[in-house]
């Protein structure tokens, strides 16, 4: 029973991983920008949530009213700049790495390297939980998984059903052909960059519900988030959701059966295995020859 509880909690925490990974996956898959600065945006989202909650003393969910638009603008600006300077694929990895370093240092200069957390008396999700028989569902993780299902599921439907979504998928397949059929790639990519930024704001808020934050966390997210991105398939939101939940559950399982220290090793092995067994299916994108 204990193991089941751990796996379930892990899976719910996996919602957070999926939220964090969604933006990286979409910009990589559709825009061919590997945006490490996305981790900086999540960091910023988390600190903004902390700052607003401490000042206004409101429910953290309310702060989304400010953080989501703010990070949408930031994400859109970032994508606009990448587009303008024609930074894709490998160069984007280097450039966004540089930007991430800057963002982390800025966060550190503003909020110091010490741990920050939401004041416990205001955070309604701290420590509470729902009990279903012997199974306990902590509030903060319920919010994580709920938001993840809502956003990634909704995003998936949007990509599948709406005109904008179809345009984006056409764009991911072949940008030249899509452009010649009247799809405005500048506007689309800025919109998508903004959406990724907004998702970073939500992920940052979700992270703050049950965790402490410090600037170096941005690096620590790398391993798990890229595991989710690669296992889920680039640009595939539903895959990202499943991968997030599986990675969360697997981490929980490894933690209880073995040791938390070995989680990165197991995830790394999983990525290698995925790359070996399903190289085409998992991450290789078809390109026009």
């Amino acid at each position: 029973m204990n193991t089941f509880q751990v796996v379930l909690s892990g899976a719910m925490l996996g919602g957070l991983y999926a939220l964090m990974a969604a933006g990286v996956s979409v910009t990589w898959g559709v825009l061919r920008v590997i945006n490490l600065a996305h981790f900086g945006l999540i960091l910023l989202g988390a600190y903004l949530t902390y700052q607003l909650v401490t000042i206004w003393r409101v429910n953290p969910l309310v702060t989304l009213v400010v953080t989501v638009p703010a990070l949408f603008v930031l994400g859109a600006l970032l994508q606009w700049a990448y587009d303008r300077l024609n930074i894709v694929e490998f160069n984007s990895l280097l450039v966004s790495f540089g930007l991430l370093i800057v963002m982390i240092q800025v966060a550190q200069n503003i909020w110091t390297a010490d741990h920050r957390e939401l004041p416990r008396d205001i955070n309604p999700f701290d420590n509470g939980s729902v009990s279903l028989g012997a199974v306990v569902l902590p509030y903060d993780r319920l919010v994580c998984i709920g938001l993840a299902v809502l956003l990634l599921g909704g995003g998936h439907l949007m990509l599948q059903r709406t005109f904008v979504g179809r345009g984006m998928r056409a764009f991911a397949e072949d940008r030249t052909v899509a452009a010649s059929f009247g799809i405005d790639h500048r506007r689309l990519s800025v919109l998508l960059g903004g959406a990724a930024g907004a998702s970073a704001g939500i992920a940052g808020m979700a992270f703050m519900l049950g965790n402490l934050i410090q600037p170096s966390h941005a690096y620590e997210w790398f391993g798990i988030v890229f595991a989710v991105v690669i296992l889920g398939g680039l640009g595939n939101l539903l895959g990202t959701l499943y991968a997030g939940i599986s990675v969360g559950a697997l981490s929980g399982l490894v933690g209880v059966l073995w040791s938390h220290a070995y989680v990165p090793i197991v995830l790394f092995a999983a990525i290698i295995l995925a790359l070996v067994l399903r190289p085409q299916g998992v991450f290789v994108r078809r390109r026009a020859a």
Binding site: I34, L85, I87, E89, F90, N91, L93, L94, V95, F97, G98, L99, L100, I101, V102, I104, Q105, V106, Q108, N109, Y219, F222, G223, F226, I230, S259, A261, Y262, P264, I265, F268, I271, I272, L275, V276, P279, Q280, F283, V284, A289
Partner: protein, 661 residues
């Protein structure tokens, strides 16, 4: 290889020893200065700065072997460094073993780690640069968590490394550090220099430019990448072991952090990645810069500046400073000496400020001197003796290359007498992709002296056939023999050595090399192999065959499509193949260019090379092919004389979709 036969070009003779001499001279000078600095008044602060500089130079050079030369960016240099650090910690810190033993052992262990990383990463078929970068990003973190959880390595406790004993002639601990770092850095730069000038270095550069094409001209890409990553690992580990001594106290969070790979990447991107000297220049610039931040107590802004610097360099000058400095070395040196010297002499500036401002001025002046507008001013005085013919200018006009050949007979060359030697034998070959059967039980032969046209509508399996013939993928069933030798299980470069050469429909030149060097690569790594100097001479003949001699010194980017196709052909025949496969060599050419290409192919054929042409333009094949093989939906539907095959009802139907009377 008979080096006696052909004298090497003069410029090449001088390059290697001169670079080596400079290297040895500088190292000796720094070593002597450091050791006897009491007389010169170098404070221990200066010694630490020199050690730091040498350490980062060694690390960056070690990183550059794979990531710079071959273009496989690694975020995992911290792993090699960390293995070295913890080898020193465990051996000298915890078990009192001599530090001079720990340095090579650290190198060895890091080399083993590199071997494992390379064996896993480079075996992944679908590995792309970005995936390699992300995988290597994870390695230091994994090592960190292993070290934290293993009692005898670290166990979260940290390790103090005792101050080492030193020989009497070394005045202090800091002197010892300078000497050890100097030793490792010299070895590292020596290795990089040797690699740069060797076959390995040229092969890695080809991998950087176009890995598929490199493999096809005969570069053993897997072996070369493995060699580069292992050399880099060993050097990184040795340097890491010395780093542990500099630290004195070793713990996981200090070693396995992202700052280390970031700083190394920044050094190499800033300095220039494709030449061995790039990392040295980058290390000098960045170590002085970061030291300046530390002294000015602006540490909280250091990462902001470094991050922006990385962004700025990638956007503005992705090739790094080395290329710019090399264009005007004297201007660079004089500017640096004048600015730094004057600032020092005024007495108002500390040495570090003077150094930094000197470097900044030097970089700025060479950058300005390299601007196109300034460059033109500069060249106006010197254009007189430069030869105008070899400029890429005439490439841009798009004119047909070379003298037009006299209009040859439009009939194909006579078919060779039957019973000749079978060069290519395809027997019952089938290829499945998942559930799709791309080729189904296809059999045909190519005998000596033939020009075989391989035709078929889109999706008929032509490209798959080409890929199977040059070993890019294995057939699901059936056998392919080249000149009597089965190519089953051979890597593409081995198939190339067996005698298959190919061109690509979309040309894949080595973009960093001149046209002549592109062809020379194929000679060097081809069936017979040759030294670089010999290869360049042979390349001239191949370029003459395709009438491209006048473009030998041009870079591929200045060529038009037709010229790039001709370059592909020159590169393919340079390997002296048994059979040459031309993949849609006429795609996108205008009629005049097609006539020109046809003439070139006739010349190649006349020189004794058998040819397989993949083409869907029947007019061209009627002029060229001695025999035609037709594929449709993966099966062979006709094989015979052009006139017979092209009138075959099945062929006509496959092409036109209906029966023609």
């Amino acid at each position: 290889m008979t080096a006696l036969a052909t004298p090497a070009p003069k410029a090449r003779i001088g390059t290697i020893p001169r670079g080596l001499l400079i290297l040895i001279g500088v190292s000796a000078l720094v070593g002597v200065l450091a050791t006897f600095s009491r007389g010169l008044g170098l404070a221990s602060y200066h010694l630490v700065l020199i050690s730091t500089l040498l350490f980062w130079a060694a690390q960056a050079t070690s990183w550059n072997l794979l990531s710079g030369f071959a273009g496989y960016f690694s975020f995992g240099q911290g792993a090699f460094l960390g293995v070295g650090v913890f080898t020193m910690a465990v051996m000298a810190g915890r078990n009192d073993l001599p530090y001079l033993l720990a340095i090579p052992v650290g190198g060895l262990l890091a080399g083993v780690l590199a071997l494992v990383i390379g064996a896993v990463a480079f075996r992944l078929r679908s590995l792309r640069g970005e995936i390699f970068a992300l995988l290597t990003l994870a390695v230091p973190f994994i090592l960190g968590s292993i070290a934290l959880n293993t009692r005898f390595i670290d166990g979260g406790l940290g390790t103090t490394i005792p101050t080492p004993d030193r020989p009497d002639w070394v005045p202090s601990f800091q002197h010892l550090m300078v000497l050890l770092n100097l030793g490792v850095a010299t070895i590292a730069v020596g290795v990089a220099l040797a690699v740069y000038h060797s076959r390995l270095g040229r092969g890695l550069a080809a991998v950087h430019d176009a890995e598929d094409a490199a493999e096809v001209v005969g570069v053993p890409t897997f072996r070369y990448k493995m060699t580069a990553i292992v050399l880099g690992g060993v050097l990184g580990g040795m340097s890491g072991a010395v780093f542990a001594m500099m630290l004195g106290y070793v713990e996981v969070p200090v070693v396995f952090i992202l700052y280390i790979p970031l700083f190394i990447i920044l050094i190499c991107v800033a300095g220039g990645r494709r030449h061995w000297a790039g990392p040295l220049i980058g290390a000098a610039l960045l170590v002085v810069l970061t030291e300046w931040f530390k002294v000015a107590s602006l540490d909280q802004y250091r990462d902001i500046v470094l991050g922006l610097l990385l962004v700025g360099i990638v956007v503005i000058a992705p090739e790094g400073m080395f290329g710019r400095l090399r264009k005007h070395p004297w201007i660079a040196l004089v500017t640096f000496l004048v600015v730094a010297g004057v600032l020092l002499l005024t007495g108002y500036y500390a040495e570090l400020d003077a150094l930094l401002y000197g470097m900044a001025a030097s970089v700025l002046v060479t950058t300005v001197a390299g601007l196109p507008r300034v460059e033109r001013l500069w060249q106006r005085q010197t254009t007189v003796d430069s030869e105008p013919a070899a400029t890429p200018g005439d490439a841009a006009t798009g004119a047909v290359v070379g003298p037009r050949p006299a209009a040859g007979p439009m009939a194909p060359p006579p078919a060779p007498p039957p019973g000749g030697r079978v060069l290519v034998s395809v027997q019952g070959v089938t290829k499945d992709f998942g559930g799709v059967r791309a080729l189904d039980n296809v059999s045909f032969d190519v005998t000596e002296g033939e020009i075989v046209g391989l035709v078929g509508p889109n999706g008929s399996g032509k490209t798959t056939m080409v890929n199977l013939l040059c070993g890019a993928m294995p057939p699901t069933a059936g056998t392919i023999t080249i000149d009597g030798r089965s190519i089953k299980g051979l890597a593409p470069h081995r198939v190339a050595h067996a005698g298959v050469a190919r061109t690509y429909q979309i040309p894949k030149p080595f973009v960093s090399m001149t046209v002549r060097d592109n062809v020379a690569m194929a000679v060097m790594f081809g069936r017979t192999g040759a030294s670089y100097a010999q290869a360049r001479q042979r390349a001239e003949q191949c370029l003459a065959t395709v009438h491209m001699q006048h473009l030998a010194d041009a870079l591929p980017e200045s060529l038009n499509l037709h010229q790039r196709q001709l370059l592909e052909m020159a590169r393919a025949i340079a390997a002296e193949p048994v059979v040459l496969i031309l993949d849609e060599a006429f795609a996108g050419l205008n009629p005049a260019e097609i006539d020109d290409a046809v003439a070139v192919i006739r010349r190649i054929h006349a020189s004794g090379v058998s040819i397989i042409i993949v083409e869907h333009r029947l007019r061209v094949l009627q002029q060229l092919a001695t025999r035609i093989v037709v594929l449709n939906r993966g099966t062979l539907i006709a094989d015979g004389e052009p006139s017979t095959v092209l009138n075959d009802p099945a062929v006509v139907q496959a092409y036109l979709g209906r029966q023609r009377a």
